[in-house]
């Protein structure tokens, strides 16, 4: 019986374990120093906000693991002997494996700011970070967050839920500037302001100030402005957690280098999820994608290879999602912060400034490359088909109601979107969705 050992019990590692179990009778051991059981990392914020307890964030009940013969170990790994196929733990014990999957996730970035080691300064990634944040934010009145990305806005929402005043510093001219185009970013900027978040765009951190007792008392920006606070959240992105293998025979760059079968250069050693870096990423995909969905898909895929059915990792059409306070965000396909060469964009925004859609298409052929949706839910399946079949903008706008996934009775915006399209493309006009009888009554 083969022994498959997985380091990391996040979504990548656990998905791999579940699928290996489905496909084989391998002995499976999942190791984590973080928590006893798999939990949803994306749900950490909800524990702090009181929406859920930690128990609620566990996708499987505790009996699930023994029932499915997946052994869980709560240990920190200190080193791996790849020649002897042996893992050594912090407590001195060791474990041998036949195949090893590295799913060690990410670490928060710290860019060496003066004062970043003060008490009350932290990032947010792990369960331990959450516990620290609970500790660090006791009796805190105001906080500063640095970094306009997903974790930053989550942290803002978390602190805001406890009545802590948040000043939010971002380097770019609008929120999430390295992913979102201007219009969408501005829409979120406005929404943050609506919630009372003090957003400071194009503001950079100079240093974090010490209160004399090793605790943060404020920050200084590059323009010399001092902002008082008792807590600083550093959320300037994450990087692959490769400490364990950095100085080993496993090839690394920013992440652990893997081929299309997710294998490292060492036989029987695989890397998946946030920690993996693809040597030859598929077209239009980045080599490192620290996203929940990618971790899941890599876990699904590597399980096949490990159980004897060699399978290449071939992600489908890119998709991602997030929620910024009350506004949901969905992205299918490629939408860059600045429209790529040869492409144009179609943009519609609702009068309430809380919903918008941006479609990127090839200027000449009108083939659609990607879409950003804010505040309107659309069907993954429909967009996946449209994008993989390279449908044109007029086709998609004409059939937009088909993609709608909003709950029943919600206002339909497709008609308005189609009218805007018709006014911009008078030679390609599409039929405008008519409102139903009940819609007219309740509108």
């Amino acid at each position: 019986m083969q022994h498959t050992v997985i380091i990391g019990n996040g979504v990548a590692g656990i998905t791999a374990a579940r699928h290996i179990r489905k496909l084989s009778d391998n002995k499976i051991t999942v190791i984590s120093g973080e928590t006893d059981h798999f939990f949803s990392r994306t749900a950490l914020m909800y524990i702090y906000m009181g929406h859920m307890k930690f128990e609620n964030t566990k996708p499987y009940e505790d009996w699930f693991w023994s029932k499915n013969k997946i052994d869980l170990m709560r240990e920190w790994v200190t080193s791996i002997d790849f020649d002897g196929k042996t893992i050594v733990f912090k407590n001195g014990t060791s474990l041998t494996y036949d195949q090893l999957i590295l799913a060690t996730g990410s670490q928060s970035n710290f860019f060496g700011w003066p004062g970043q080691d003060l008490k009350g300064v932290q990032g947010l990634y792990s369960y331990q970070d959450l516990e620290l944040m609970e500790e660090n934010t006791k009796n805190v009145k105001s906080a500063v967050i640095l970094g306009g990305g997903l974790i930053g806005v989550e942290m803002a929402e978390m602190l805001h839920s406890r009545g802590i005043h948040v000043t939010y510093l971002i380097r770019e001219s609008h929120f999430w500037g390295n992913m979102l185009p201007k219009e969408e970013g501005t829409l979120i900027d406005n929404h943050l302001a609506e919630h009372g978040i003090d957003l400071r765009t194009e503001t950079e951190l100079e240093e974090i100030l010490d209160d004399g007792n090793g605790h943060v008392k404020g920050i200084k920006t590059k323009t010399g402005e001092v902002i008082d606070c008792q807590f600083v959240g550093l959320t300037v992105g994450v990087h692959p957690n490769i400490d364990l293998v950095k100085d080993s025979k496993v090839e690394t760059d920013r992440g652990i280098l893997v081929d299309e079968k997710l294998q490292t250069n060492v036989p029987d050693v695989y890397a998946i999820g946030d920690c993996a870096q693809q040597k030859n990423p598929p077209a239009h995909r980045r080599p490192i994608e620290a996203v929940w969905y990618v971790g899941r898909m890599m876990g699904e895929t590597v399980a096949h290879t490990i159980t004897g059915n060699e399978t290449k990792y071939q992600p489908g059409v890119w998709f991602n999602s997030a929620k910024f306070f009350d506004i949901e965000y969905h992205n299918y396909g490629t939408v860059l912060p600045t429209c790529q060469e040869g492409c144009s964009e179609f943009y519609w925004e609702c009068h309430d400034k809380k919903k918008c859609i941006k479609v990127i298409y090839e200027t000449n052929s009108l083939k659609v490359k990607g879409v950003n949706l804010f505040g309107i839910r659309n069907r993954h399946e429909v967009w996946d088909n449209w994008l993989s079949q390279e449908k044109t903008l007029d086709h998609i706008i004409g059939n937009l109601p088909e993609a709608n996934f909003d709950p029943e009775f919600f206002t339909h915006w497709e008609g308005e979107i189609q009218e805007k399209f018709n006014s911009e493309f008078s030679d390609k006009t599409v039929n405008v969705r008519k409102r139903g009888f009940l819609e007219k009554i309740f509108a």
């Binding site: 949803s40 994306t42 009940e61 899941r296 069907r379 029943e408």
Partner: protein
């Protein structure tokens, strides 16, 4: 704004306190005159001597007064039974009528004023507490901050206290209504308004409180979910059906000399529908009665399969039903307390189907007796061994005391989930023959757990969503909260092609492998 809120809270707590303290306020004095005008002539002779000690004695609490009354009746009955004078055994409920007639004090003198102080001030106070949330609570969206830190919402001391009060209230209401005579008198002005010839009963008190609670907490629900038209329409629907169908129309029917009838209540939830007295009452009330009887049968025989096929069981459970109406309004603060474990699901399936079978057996026996004109079936006395235990165990204890009293302990759908035979029936249709499902949107689930946490029926929604499977569960009442709380827009309640519900290829977003389920 905050001042308004806290003033409202104080007003509400004042009303609640006043309501509770009314239990203790009156004095009770039985007089010869009350006795003779409330007790039947044939009972006066036997009961009179037993009550002699109570005459003109002032009691300051209802409990000893009612106890002494009941003791007197019991003494008479025991003696008559031992002497085998069966015709002299007293079956009338003199505790209720005598206590009411003997009550004097504030509640009798100032009924209307007290009514205003309790219910009008209470409602205004509650609304003052609720309405400012539109502004204070921030922009429309999910409002679950701090739920699990809250002593009411997370089985803290306020929750325990609330649950305890509810349980005590239900026990008094069902089994010791004479104790709460003061509360029954309190709602008499409304009873008189609707039907000047009637006097409020324990059931009128219950109906009024129920409707009052659904309306006030319905406003809260609408404000909380004001970003979702589905939630707004659904809440307005349950508020309407409770107020019009369950509360007003039956009273108006009685005023028009028609049978008391709730047009939206349905067998087998309405378990006495086929009781001989009920069938007789309807069939002897002319055309209207016959129509009601036919309506009641059509509702479960045709309405259920038809509407569940097109819309799922939600058309009833979370849009029309009274129990559902209470759960979706008053119960909303407790929805996260339902148990999501597999174990709970197993218990649920055994329990709810056992109640359904019990209900079917009981009804079958009752109908058999009605048709054959007998009192027993296969040698078993139907009333004592089937109908009465069902009414006590299921009708009172399960659906009332536990069903509502346990909101703060086990979530707001304890009855609907574990006990309601109608829910079991609707659920069976929903599972096997319906267009309804909760659609999972491709591979977008992040397993966060909000859907499962806030599912009042204890469905582990995430179990399915994270696999990309649609959710087709007989217990789903279609409240739509999983869809509302999902931070990634993964879940949507839909009535669509029946064939597409399950066993379809699943979109994972991963072209490496294929999964279907």
């Amino acid at each position: 704004m905050k001042t308004i809120r806290y003033t409202g809270l104080i007003a509400f707590l004042f009303s609640l306190g006043l309501f509770l303290s009314l239990f203790f306020t009156s004095t009770y004095t039985l007089t010869e005159q009350i006795f003779t005008s409330n007790v039947k002539a044939e009972h006066q002779e036997t009961l009179g001597p037993e009550l002699a000690g109570m005459m003109d004695r002032e009691y300051s609490l209802s409990i000893p007064f009612v106890k002494d009354l009941n003791a007197a009746v019991n003494t008479v009955n025991e003696r008559m039974r031992s002497e085998q004078q069966w015709d002299k055994v007293i079956y009338d409920d003199y505790a209720g009528s005598l206590t009411r007639a003997s009550t004097s004090g504030l509640i009798q003198d100032q009924t209307t004023l007290l009514f205003i102080l309790v219910f009008i001030v209470g409602a205004v106070g509650a609304l003052m507490f609720i309405l400012p949330q539109i502004q204070l609570g921030g922009p429309a969206g999910i409002k679950h901050n701090g739920i699990f830190f809250n002593a009411l919402n997370n089985r803290g001391w306020i929750g325990m206290l609330t649950g305890g009060l509810l349980v005590v209230f239900y026990v008094l209401l069902y089994f010791y209504p004479a104790y709460i005579t003061n509360w029954i008198i309190l709602v008499d002005p409304v009873q008189k308004l609707l039907n000047p010839g009637a006097t409020s009963s324990q059931w009128f008190l219950y109906g009024f409180l129920y409707t009052f609670a659904v309306l006030v907490m319905g406003v809260r629900m609408i404000i909380k979910y004001r970003h979702s038209k589905y939630q707004i329409f659904r809440t307005i629907s349950v508020m309407f059906f409770q107020t019009a169908f369950a509360f007003l129309i039956p009273e108006i029917l009685v005023r028009l000399n028609q049978p008391y009838f709730d047009f939206k209540n349905m067998w087998p939830l309405d378990y006495d529908f086929f009781d001989a007295w009920h069938i007789n009452m309807l069939t002897t009330s002319g055309g209207t009665g016959i129509f009601m009887f036919a309506w009641g049968i059509s509702l479960f025989a045709i309405g259920v399969p038809l509407f569940v096929f097109f819309f799922g069981k939600r058309w009833y459970c979370s849009w029309v039903c009274g129990c559902g109406g209470l759960a979706e309004t008053v119960g909303d603060p407790f929805r996260q307390l339902s148990d999501k474990s597999l174990k709970a699901w197993q218990i649920e399936r055994y329990l709810i189907h056992a109640v359904l079978i019990f209900g079917l057996l009981m009804t079958g026996a009752v109908v058999y007796n009605f048709i054959s004109g007998t009192n027993s079936i296969l040698g078993i006395d139907t009333y004592n061994y089937l109908r009465k235990p069902y009414g006590f165990l299921i009708g009172s204890i399960f659906s009332g005391v536990i069903g509502t009293g346990f909101y703060p302990f086990m979530g707001n759908r304890v009855w609907c989930r574990f006990g309601c035979p109608l829910a079991a029936y609707l659920g069976a249709v929903q599972k096997f023959k319906s267009r309804f499902r909760i659609t999972t949107n491709g591979g977008q689930c992040i397993s966060c757990g909000n859907c499962s946490t806030y599912c009042e029926m204890g469905i582990d929604v995430r179990w399915y969503a994270q696999r990309g499977q649609n959710i087709i569960r007989s217990s789903c009442v279609g409240c739509g909260v999983c869809s509302a709380v999902c931070p990634r827009g993964v879940l949507n309640l839909e009535n669509r092609d029946e064939d597409g519900r399950f066993n379809q290829p699943i979109l994972l977003g991963n072209d490496s492998i294929k999964v279907s389920n």
